[in-house]
Subunit: 224 residues, 2 copies
DNA sequence: GACTTGATGTCGGTC
DNA sequence: GACCGACGTCAAGTC
């Protein structure tokens, strides 16, 4: 990893065209040749960057400045012109052991599949990731009356998720072996507009409590 | 801006729970106190981070190690435990003059509104950002026969954009003063599945040539 | 390689 | 502050 602090201007031409006037910034070069240009604000988003795989060409100008040209396969180009270099250091970091996460949508799905009765008395699981032509339905289940239910799970329920579930329902209900299929939108938090749209389409909304679900799961583990 | 290279482990508890085992990494602290922890790959996304506004507390352990605790208002917490510090430097960057962009959707919209005939002989503009209860329609126009057309503009046309336009059309067609309203999906690039869905719903698709539109505009400017 | 979906998305504008 | 849509979204998984 190489850290350069320099007064620089930046030009990007690719998916859009962008320009940064001359100013002091951090230029970060990683082991995979990716480059990012940071100002002293915004948690982590750089002002400009080039994702790997890409190539970095360094040139020196007559007056001691530097010009870096970063190019990727699709022809996107990032040009960094450095007027004055204030710091330049390189560091060997090695490969990172990687991040361990807990609490993402996949976990919600696992927990809910294991506790279908959270959704309603007597509900059972048909299967998780039920495959369809337009992608897998998060959970396909059965309610107490034997009716089929398609469940879409989100951490945060927004309009997109309702649209997604609607497409699944439309498709599933064309299958005479399955129809009628009810829809259920389950999320830790459901935005008002998403709830309105879902309700308008006859889709039931349920908010999930991750900690409670995990607690139930822990209780189960303690029992067996 | 402060740059620290250190062997560290990281724990995050907030919107999810995450852990990073001890390894050498870059810890970046910006002027707004935001912190990000980078490995030596992935263009700009850190392994872990805390967005501003947040507070950073530094402590030293008996064996010369450091523990940083970063907390934000909503109670999210990031704990960085440094076993060995390999580099530590601070740099004054000042406020960045900011990025100048060109070629985004807004610009496409301006160009197209100014050249409605690109969409069809005799087409005219009613207005840009036509307001509706569920958000503004990019362009509302009139075709050669006087029929109303709602235009949704995207840089890249995907399914989401078709769904969005469909919602607008549904709403607009409930208004007897406007109905019938045709739909037109215009983008620099239209994904096959989006095109299929649009066509299936009777929405016409048009791919836009940004350079050509800008060229036409330049010609116009030269004339007047 | 195209397509889909999730994300600690982030960011900016509006109400 | 909530909500909503755009993003050079990115990144991972599937087909």
């Amino acid at each position: 990893m190489r850290l350069v602090i320099a007064r620089c201007s930046v030009d990007y031409a690719g998916r859009l065209t962008a320009h940064l006037p001359m100013a002091p910034r951090l230029v970060l070069v990683k082991a995979d040749n990716s480059v990012s240009v940071h100002a002293d604000d915004r948690a982590y988003k750089p002002l400009n960057w080039m994702s790997p795989p890409c190539t970095l060409k360094e040139e020196e100008t007559e007056d001691g400045g530097r010009v870096w040209t970063v190019v990727n396969k699709t022809g996107e180009k990032l040009i960094i012109t450095m007027e004055e270099v204030l710091h330049d250091s390189s560091h060997e970091l090695g490969v990172d052991p990687g991040l361990i996460k807990d609490g993402v949508e996949a976990h919600l799905q696992e927990l809910l599949a294991d506790r279908m009765e959270t959704l309603g008395e007597g509900w059972t699981l048909i299967r998780r990731e039920y495959p369809t032509a337009i992608g897998p339905v998060d959970i396909l289940g059965r309610d107490a009356d034997g009716g089929t239910v398609a469940v879409e799970i989100k951490r945060r329920g927004e309009i997109d998720g309702v649209e997604q579930l609607t497409r699944y329902l439309e498709l599933l209900n064309r299958d005479p072996h399955l129809a009628p299929v009810q829809g259920l939108f389950a999320a830790q938090e459901i935005k008002p507009q998403a709830r309105t749209l879902a309700t308008d389409r006859g889709i039931r909304c349920v908010t999930l409590d991750y900690d409670a679900l995990r607690g139930i799961e822990d209780d189960k583990l303690r029992l067996f």
